[in-house]
Structure formats: structure tokens, C-alpha cells
């Protein structure tokens, strides 16, 4: 069953690119919330860099989505003038930033996912998508290189830091399955060589995550599909609050230049 408002009229390519754009903008928003709140100054600067990478990604994907849609909408129309039910990000991106442990665990799980995903997406037959992926994979490799030692030292640092990592994994585990859930329209794009079969990435992801955490004696089971709905506009309650904040100016003063 298809729940997205107006989604039936939308082309698979548009939905695909839009989903990637929403993933990026939502995660960048959560990361940007760390600005002036990080454990120390160096980390504040580093987290902002990652947030900026994702804003950049969001802009490229939105611009392309707008082009694919062909209705003269801009990147900002897509980011600022769609409602909760029209946003199609995977849910893991929208969860509140939590403590530093939660943010880093989410980042680690996502970095590992994007590392596998983008490595394949660079070969997309759609040249624009391939070009964006080629830029993004460089960023993601660095992000992962950063998250790995963070997870290691927080897992093995103090009892408190370890328990916070374990708790974050617990809170996130219901949301990882959705990363590997293919939509029907997306499968048709895989057949055309445009999209990636995310379901096929899961064994590698499981193995990597379990292996890495296992070295610190932390268990994490296979990604099981628990909570789903993001790609169809069914979200957690958190997204609405995020959008009401993010879209406030555009909604309060419609149609203005900023």
C-alpha cells in the first residue's frame, strides 16, 4: 500500500533522489544542533564539518530532484515547503541528537551504511547521481575513519561511556532495518542500473558492525526490520518538530527572498 501524499504521480527517479536529499537535510539538521554544545572545541568544529558535508549533499540532491520533477521548483521549495507527510527520509536520520554517545553511534551505523552504499552508487547509470555519489563517498570515508575510533574509545573508555554506547545501540536497533528495505519503485530503478539494491548490502553491513563492536566485546544482532515508513512519509513524532523549526521563516513569510 502506498501512503505518500501524491506519490502516485511522482516518477520513481524523482522519489529516489528526493529521498536521498531528505536523508541528508534531516541528518545535517541534527548534527548542526551540536554547534556550541560539543564536549570540547575541536570536536565542535569537526561535527560542524560533517553537518556541512550533509547540507552540501542535500543541496545537490534537491537541485537534481527539482530538475527531474520539472515543475520549476527550487531546492528551497523542496526543503522548506513540504510537510511531514511529504518528507521521505529514512527514520534513523530524524531521531533527536541525544547525548554525544547517541550521535556518534548513529553516525557510525550510518557511515558504515553509506560507505557500502555510495561505493556502489558511484557507478549509477544516471550521471548526476553518480557524480554526487563520487563526491559524497570521499566525505563518508573520512566520516567513518572518525567514527570508528570514537566508538572504540567510548566503548572501552569508562563504565559510563560504555553503558551509554550500549544504550544508544539499543535505542537505534529498531531503526536500522529500514536502511535495507527496498521500495517497489526503487527496485525498478535498480533494474535500470540507476539505484542500488540496499537489501543486498545488509550482510556486509551486519558483518562489519558486529565485527567492529565485537572487538570491544559489545554484541549487536543482525539488522531486523522493526520500524518502517520513512520513504512513505510515515515518521516518528520528532520530524514534525524539526520541520516546524527549520521551515519557520519560509512558512511565516511566504514567497519572500532571503
Amino acid at each position: 500500500m502506498n501512503n505518500t501524499i501524491k506519490s502516485n504521480e511522482q516518477s520513481p527517479l524523482y522519489r529516489f533522489v528526493l529521498g536521498l536529499a531528505d536523508d541528508s537535510v534531516v541528518l545535517s539538521h541534527r548534527l548542526s544542533e551540536w554547534c556550541s554544545n560539543a564536549p570540547y572545541l575541536e570536536e565542535d568544529i569537526a561535527l560542524s564539518n560533517i553537518a556541512l558535508d550533509y547540507v552540501g549533499r542535500a543541496r545537490m540532491f534537491y537541485q537534481y530532484a527539482a530538475e527531474v520533477e520539472g515543475k520549476g521548483r527550487s531546492e528551497d521549495d523542496l526543503a522548506y515547503l513540504r510537510s511531514e507527510r511529504e518528507f521521505t527520509n529514512l527514520l534513523i536520520h530524524e531521531l533527536p541528537k541525544g547525548d554525544f554517545g547517541f550521535t556518534m553511534v548513529r553516525q557510525f551505523l550510518l557511515d558504515a551504511f553509506y560507505n557500502l552504499y555510495l561505493t556502489q552508487l558511484v557507478d549509477s547509470k544516471d550521471e548526476t547521481i553518480a557524480a554526487i555519489a563520487a563526491k559524497a563517498i570521499k566525505e563518508t570515508r573520512y566520516h567513518l575513519k572518525r567514527s570508528e575510533p570514537w566508538i572504540r574509545q567510548l566503548s572501552e573508555g569508562t563504565e559510563e561511556s560504555r553503558s551509554r554506547i550500549v544504550r544508544a545501540l539499543e535505542e537505534l536497533k529498531d531503526f536500522v532495518g529500514e536502511m535495507f528495505l527496498m521500495e517497489e519503485w526503487e527496485t525498478s530503478l535498480v533494474e535500470q542500473g540507476i539505484a542500488i539494491d540496499r537489501a543486498a548490502l545488509q550482510p556486509d553491513w551486519d558483518r562489519y558492525i558486529q565485527g567492529f563492536l565485537g572487538e570491544s566485546g559489545i554484541e549487536f544482532g543482525d539488522a531486523q526490520l522493526q520500524i518502517r515508513g520513512g520513504r512513505n512519509g510515515i515518521h516518528t513524532e520528532h520530524l514534525g518538530h524539526m520541520l516546524s523549526e527549520m521551515q519557520y521563516l519560509q512558512r511565516t513569510h511566504p514567497g519572500m527572498e532571503w
Binding site: C35, P39, Y40, I45, R59, Y80, E245, L249, H253
Partner: protein, 320 residues
């Protein structure tokens, strides 16, 4: 008057000679205690200003109206963090640690620019801050590139290079608003009016009232007086206000042909001292935010230290 023993007198003479020859003082050089103290005070205050300054602008990162503005603002606030880092790093070369500086900030012993104790109420404040506050900071910092302490001067060179985009992005926001709808224009006028006086206050008290000014000038830590810098800022900003088509924030602003400068009204010094001494609209909130972030980060820093220790222990064990 303190008497110097002979060695110290020689050191003092070498130091004085260096200052008068426009040579930089470097961290391992002998320097008078008061010079060191004065530097620590000014540089750490400068560093704290960058770091506390992240908050009022950070207040709008999640509400920036377009993706481009969001990216610009985030990278700008990130730069402020970077500038804080450069300055803490330069100050540490004087023999004080960053934790000591942070303690001084949080206990109220160290000050930061009072401008950051005012709230950013609308999006136009982001424009006004970039334009006026960064503009005022740049006027000051350009002269500090010639300051006598080497690490401070070098940090200033790097900071000035990076700041140039900050003021422009602010002015760009103001330009768009000033040429936008009536609502936007009002927003711009209001934000400029509110930020104008606090920006002028950034240059500190009148030269005649400034406790540290003349000594700092003698040591060439400061290169231009508070009032001269303030005048320079007013002179360069008034035409920019005219270009925006906004009303002057001060009715007394008027070109003075004889002086070759703009005349302007008197700052409300009572407000200035009130805010400096902790009674500004956001003083409490800014320090509270800083303390909360710092103490929430303690478990992370603790974990990092503990992990590091364990790794070192392992190494020693393996070597044994």
C-alpha cells in the same frame, strides 16, 4: 616601585629594546610579569568572545531560511569556534592552560565581549551581527596583526584572512532584507538599531576611562586607541547604512567637514558597565549554556582520557 636585580634589569632592557624596535616577543623570551598578565587577560578575553559568540548566531542555524544561508551560517559559526581555538592555542604559549581559562570564564573572572549578551531576536540579527559586530571586530583585529606578541599577531593574521567573508555574508543578508518587503525592511531596520550601540561599545570605554589602554599601547599589545578605532568604524559604516537605504540608528550622525569624520551621539555608558558587569539581557544564559555543554561533555573527556591511559598501560605491559 619594585627594584630589579641586575639580571632582570638586563632582561628588561632587552625586552624594551625589542618593543621599541618593533620586534615580536616570542613565548620563550623573558617578559615582564605585567606584560604576560595583560596579554593573558586580553587574549583569553578575545578567545572567550569567539566561543561565547557562537551562541547568539548558533541560535539561528536550525532556522536559517534557505539551505545556502544554513551552510553559510554554520560555516561562519564554525569559524568562530576555530578562531577561539587559535586564540586559546596562542594564549597557552604564555603558560596558562585552556582548562584554567575556561574556569576563569565560567566563574566570571574572565570577561568576553559584551555584545554577545544581547539576544538575536529575528533573522535580521544574523545579518546585523555579521555586518556590524564582525565589522567592528575586523577594525580592531586588523591593527592587532601588528601586536607585539608573536603568537597573538600570527593568530590575528589567520583570523583576519578568514573574517572577510563573515562581514560580507552579513551585509548580503541586510541587503536582501532592506530591498525586500515592508516586513523585511522593518526587520532589518530594527536589527540594525538594536545592534548599533552595542557594536560601538565593543571598542571599550573612552581612552580617558580605559584602565588597561595606555599601558597596552606602550607595550604595543594594542596599536590604536579605543576612540580612534571606534571613529574608524563609524566612518566606514555610515556610507554602508546609506547604501542599504535604512534610517540612521543615531539621529546625531552627521559629517563633520572640519574633523574629516562623522560626529555621533554619546554611548549609554551606564548600560555598557551594566552589561560588562553581568547584568545584560543574556549574561546568565550564555554562561549557563557554556557550563551545561562543558559539564555534559565531561563523561566524554573522561572516557577519552581513560581509554588513552589504558592504551599506554598496555604498551608498557607489552614492553615489559
Amino acid at each position: 616601585m619594585q627594584t630589579l636585580d641586575k639580571d632582570e634589569a638586563v632582561e628588561q632592557a632587552t625586552f624594551d629594546q625589542r618593543i621599541s624596535d618593533e620586534q615580536k616577543i616570542e613565548p620563550t623570551d623573558w617578559m615582564p610579569d605585567d606584560y604576560r598578565k595583560n596579554l593573558i587577560r586580553q587574549m583569553s578575553q578575545h578567545a572567550h568572545s569567539e566561543v561565547i559568540g557562537m551562541q547568539p548566531e548558533g541560535n539561528w542555524i536550525t532556522r536559517a531560511p534557505t539551505l545556502r544561508r544554513k551552510a553559510v551560517l554554520l560555516s561562519k559559526v564554525q569559524d568562530e569556534a576555530g578562531h577561539g581555538l587559535y586564540l586559546y592555542s596562542a594564549t597557552e604559549s604564555l603558560g596558562i592552560t585552556r582548562s584554567q581559562m575556561i574556569d576563569a570564564l565560567q566563574s566570571g573572572k574572565a570577561k568576553y565581549a559584551s555584545i554577545f549578551n544581547y539576544p538575536t531576536l529575528t533573522w535580521a540579527d544574523i545579518g546585523a551581527i555579521g555586518w556590524l559586530v564582525d565589522g567592528a571586530a575586523i577594525v580592531n583585529q586588523i591593527t592587532l596583526q601588528r601586536t607585539s606578541y608573536g603568537p597573538y599577531a600570527r593568530a590575528m593574521v589567520r583570523i583576519c584572512k578568514e573574517e572577510s567573508f563573515h562581514q560580507r555574508q552579513g551585509y548580503e543578508i541586510m541587503t536582501v532584507l532592506a530591498h525586500g518587503t515592508q516586513v523585511q525592511k522593518q526587520m532589518a531596520q530594527d536589527a540594525m538599531n538594536r545592534n548599533w550601540w552595542p557594536s560601538l561599545m565593543m571598542f571599550g570605554p573612552h581612552d580617558s576611562e580605559s584602565a588597561h589602554s595606555s599601558r597596552s599601547m606602550g607595550w604595543k599589545i594594542k596599536r590604536m586607541s579605543n576612540d580612534d578605532l571606534r571613529q574608524k568604524f563609524i566612518d566606514q559604516t555610515v556610507p554602508q547604512i546609506e547604501a542599504l537605504g535604512l534610517d540612521m540608528p543615531d539621529p546625531l550622525i552627521k559629517w563633520n567637514e572640519e574633523r574629516g569624520h562623522y560626529d555621533s551621539g554619546e554611548i549609554n555608558w551606564e548600560e555598557f558597565y551594566q552589561v560588562i558587569n553581568g547584568a545584560g539581557p543574556c549574561n546568565y544564559q550564555r554562561i549557563k549554556h557554556h557550563k551545561a555543554a562543558h559539564s555534559e561533555g565531561e563523561w566524554v573527556r573522561e572516557a577519552v582520557r581513560s581509554y588513552r591511559q589504558k592504551q599506554q598501560d598496555k604498551k608498557t605491559e607489552n614492553a615489559a
